[in-house]
Amino acid sequence: MIKNRTFGGDRGQSQFQMALERFKQNRLAMICFYVLFSLYLGALGADFLAPYSYGSEERNYSYCPPTMIQFFNEQKNLSRPFVYGRTLTFDQYQKRVYTTDKTKKFPLKFFVKGDEYKFLGFLKSSHHLFGVEAPGRFYLFGADSRGRDIYSRILHGARISLSIGLIGVIISFSIGLLVGGIAGYFGGWVDDFLMRICEIVMMVPGFYLLLALRAVVPDNFNSLQVYFAIIVILSFIGWASLARIIRGMCLSLKTRDYVLAARTLGVSNIKIILKHILPHTLSYSIAAVMLSIPGYILGESALSLLGLGIQDPYASWGNMLSDAMSIVRIKFAPWILLPGFFIFLTVVCFNMIGDALRDCLDPLYKGEEI
């Protein structure tokens, strides 16, 4: 490390390398990074990692509680893990009661055959990482109203909930950086015009704008089109506040000598904005990106919760939670709140990483001790 910083080194250490070093020293942020990383991996490999597909339902197991994995057989001897079968009965209040049926045993297997899928979109397969063979059902996190596995649906829902944040943030930040950069650099009427547009977007309360824009989307869209429509809607709300901040930074950055130097060298305006001005706002905007991703995830969840987002049978964390809107259901089947825990986990992780990045990317950061 010291070798790199000395003057004799072949290449000077870039700002990004220094920031990365500092980031790695922040243990909490690194833990959050690994948690998020595994969530994204889980979303990517959902087909294989989940024992069932998102739509695989079994009405007989409606609101079935999480299946206990048994490690000891009837003789109290250690055996390979297995699960007991269950039978559904109703008590005198018509409440579902699941009783363990010890006569039926389903061994837990790796690479068990189940629903067919295409891994990563092209590898056709029907093996799942773990599970039990039909007719047994294995509910790691319990089942929802239609007897679908919540664990599987959380993994499949992560694809939508986690990707919406990333794609949405990329779109809205590209717009925000560009609009802010152009407004700040050119100034004058361009600045006035763009900033008034930003203010109009910011003026409308976010959630109403979200609902209003959702109303514009035609009803006959299929789920993929709805998914992209939601991304576009969420990014449309997000870019304005960033554009304003970037514009303010550009106002001061454009008076720097290296901008004048670039102009005397005949570099075009748009290249000056992209190469000489916007990179200086990165320390702010990368942290802002991280801190704003949760907003997109929550926005999608809110839309789906109200039934305006991703439609059943497709899973997203938000529409899974819409099942949990009744207090009675939560009382008898508290596991349907689990998607909420995953939203919480993701949001906390993004915020922690965002905070850590803001410290790391600050060029004037001198370490904790000062």
Binding site: R11, A261, R263, T264
Partner: protein, 257 residues
């Protein structure tokens, strides 16, 4: 005549009655000469330099006058034409090279940028060209300079790198805006030698903007003295030194001791 400025007047925009920043400035720079523009702070030296490249602050405007460069009127040029001209025909050097290099990029990248936008050279040819340029300005370890950030170099090295960037496209005119005022005396002399060498090797003209008449007098072929936005005296260096007419010029000379 390489550059000919006629009756250039620059004022603050939207205010007719204010003092002119530049008042009726005329000067002529023949090819392959070092022309020094000398004057105190706020006398309009830098504004003259910037108006040649049409990079005046948006708050200022040229109310009258003509700027002829190689026979073409620059004030009639479109922004795109000006952009092509800058760097290629007219290079510029600044007082503080630390701020004139973008701190987030390596030096090599920034010199390469100029070559990239104005020439058709490929990456390898550009790298070779940069090494040649750096050697030309007296930096003997070009590979190391290319991979350094501006804050890793000393003041003299930075200024040399800056000059290398400005002459990358062999401009006809180099505008040097107080290129040595932040350097120590020995370095000043070395940079001045470099200017003389460049003038002879690359056959370019240099518009040297400075407040230091003593230093300039060793170097310049012609001198113009500015005061309050006006050129008060103009002539060959020898004549000015021996036979200064204007009291302000005499003051400057007396300050030299």
């Amino acid at each position: 005549m390489l550059l000919k400025i006629e009756n250039l007047t620059v004022k603050i925009k939207g205010n007719e009655n204010t003092l002119s920043i530049l008042d009726d400035v005329s000067l002529e720079i023949p090819p392959q000469t070092i022309f020094a523009l000398v004057g105190g702070s706020g006398s309009g030296k830098t504004t003259s330099g910037l108006s040649i490249t049409c990079l005046l602050s948006p708050a200022l405007e040229i109310v009258q006058g003509k700027i002829h460069f190689q026979g073409e009127d620059l004030l009639n040029y479109s922004p795109i034409q000006m952009q092509r001209l800058r760097g290629k025909e007219i290079g510029m050097i600044f007082q503080e090279p630390l701020y004139a290099f973008n701190p987030v990029y390596r030096i090599g990248f920034q010199i390469e940028e100029v070559l990239k936008y104005h020439t058709l050279l490929n990456h390898k040819e550009r790298q070779e060209k940069i090494c040649d340029l750096l050697r030309l300005v007296g930096l003997n370890e070009p590979k190391r300079i290319i991979n350094s950030y501006s804050h890793q170099l000393s003041g003299g090295m930075r200024q040399r790198a800056m000059i290398a960037q400005a002459i990358a496209l062999h401009p006809q005119l180099l505008i040097a805006d107080e290129p040595t005022s932040n350097l120590d005396v020995t370095l000043q002399a070395k940079i001045m030698d470099l200017f003389l060498q460049l003038k002879n090797q690359l056959k370019l003209s240099i518009l040297l903007i400075s407040h230091d008449l003593g230093m300039v007098s060793h170097l310049a072929d012609e001198i113009a003295v500015m005061m309050n936005g006006k050129i008060v005296e103009r002539g060959k260096t020898k004549e000015i030194l021996q036979n200064a007419q204007h009291p302000y010029t005499r003051q400057l000379l007396e300050a030299l001791v």
